[in-house]
Amino acid sequence: MAWTDLQTAMAAQGYVASDDLSVALHLALSLGRPILLEGTAGVGKTEVARVLAAVQDTRLIRLQCYEGLDASQAIYEWNYQRQLLAIRAAGEAGQTGADVEARIFSEDYLMERPLLAAIRQDKAPVLLIDEVDRADEEFEAYLLEVLADYQVTIPELGTIKATTHPIVILTANGTRDLSDALRRRCLYTYLDYPDRTTELAILNARCPNVSDRLAGQIIGFVQKLREEELEKVPGIAEMLDFTAALMGLGIADLTDDPAVLQATLTTLLKTQSDQANVTTEVAQRIAGRAA
């Protein structure tokens, strides 16, 4: 499969991928390398993984990172309650220590967490490690180990080798810098807000029944709005919400009713100061220029 095929297949799933991203994903698939997607919130990083799983017709395994994430939540954990019960039951039946030990530290009592689950699938899944920059540095070290060898070592069980290599997608939005070691291991693509034509294509793919005129106005408006000084710049998801709101209200032209436009801005502006800054006049000015 060439990268253009991948691009077309993703477009069929409603994801308009840039050429850069398509080539990078194609390489990630063919070289078996993890890929790191960086970019501000709302540019569709997480969506890439979902769409890629759909294109590859495979499972999506997601690991959401947060501060304090550790091996027991990311790789595996023993099922302690079951273990305790098993030990008690074995005690009643008069079994010996060695037997019990072998039994309670077997796979039956192992709880898979995303990283372990991802390397034990029959068909290579898409493993999404979301917002990896939120996890702390110790976790990066685990991750490097898993990503380097695709194997997990459990002291009681031994080393579990991957049956298939998962397609690994890491996303980060820059809350802290990632270590160079992790960056080196991955292919890299920076996702930015899409340009006008790309965003129009996204809108058409997601909401096919918007009229061309309104679609053009929406994209023009959102693109101009991103140039304003905002605390939280609206992303693609916000743009789609905005469109849905306008559709739901049955608006045909953005400049028709200033009050309605102002009301629907809640879908685009997510902080109090942004809402205060984009007054009716400002919104009208932007809408007027966009039209």
């Binding site: 305790l84 540095e137 802290r176």
Partner: protein, 392 residues
Amino acid sequence: MSRVTRFAGRDPGPAARMSGFLAHLRENGLRLGVAETGLALDALTHVVAADPAQCKRALKAVCSGCKEEAAQFDDLFDAFWLNGGKVSQKIVPNLSNRASDHVHSSRHAKGEAAGAGQANAPDGGTGEAESDGLGKLVATEIANLMKKDLRDLVQADEIAAAEQVARRLGAALRDRRSRRRIAARKGDRLHFRKVIRQSLATGGEPLRLPKKRRPDRTRKIAAICDVSGSMTVYAQVFLAFLAGLLRADPQADAYLFHTRLVRITEALRDRDAMRALARMSLMADGFAGGSRIGGSLEQFAKTYAKRFVDGRTVVLILSDGYDTDPPAVLAAALTRLKKRGCKIIWLNPLKGWRDYEPVAGGMAAALPHLDLFKAANTLADLAALEPELVRL
């Protein structure tokens, strides 16, 4: 295709061109290892290698590692592969004359330290040299008024006092944010894995209940001291503090700057406190000259910070904020530094003055990025910071 670079006749083939390209990228500050060369060649087999646009995208995915590198990549690619049909003579650049501060900052610093050590060697026999060294000292003073010997400023007992203060400050900077848990004698949660393990010995009855708790994490301190002319008066205190800090805390890191930045960690780690100062003053040449705070901090953020500053670091800036660089440079450098997740403390000796307002352009630009902005011009002031640091 006329834009594509032509290679000289003795070109050894695509693999060499690729390693030449990777070397070209390394020269421009991208951090790439040997493995990437192979990966880059591998990547090209999966796209149409004859199409420059596809090659560029493929190599960009392989070779870039952050936003800045990705943005820079197109130009670097064009410079190497698409230089308007000119013949490229040298494919693999000469390795000997590379001096990249991005990659080799530690070697760089070590090199300096080694150099300083050598130059400093005669100082080892201070006892004999002292008596007949007087005349020379006068001569050098006349010849170079700007060049100060830090040993004149700092006394050994001050360092001992500073060491005490630094030790206490380091202890105050415990990081309590760890959310992980480790096994511990006294803890707030059961360590289930151990409970199960040990209950096997008592027939499944969990008699011993091992605990786990959140460990205390230490913070690293990276101290950056301004030794420009306007700071000379306060240099004594701050340098003693730096020397004490590095002796008390094996993780700490120290830098001096005036118009450029020097890492003095290695030098200050010298067991002999006075010799450490001697080495430091050799490195801080240009001491008490002008100050480029913005430029120096930018240099710090772009080079050393990548290796030494992380979320558990406190960056301590000791400066009066009189900057010859535009304030925007300083603001940008601090933003960059802040993105590494560290805390930034600025200790300004002038703030101790009555009615002081941070109106100096640089200081005003820096304020929004600081976690703590305090006055300090004596060791006692530094010691008094302890409760503030605990709260940080």
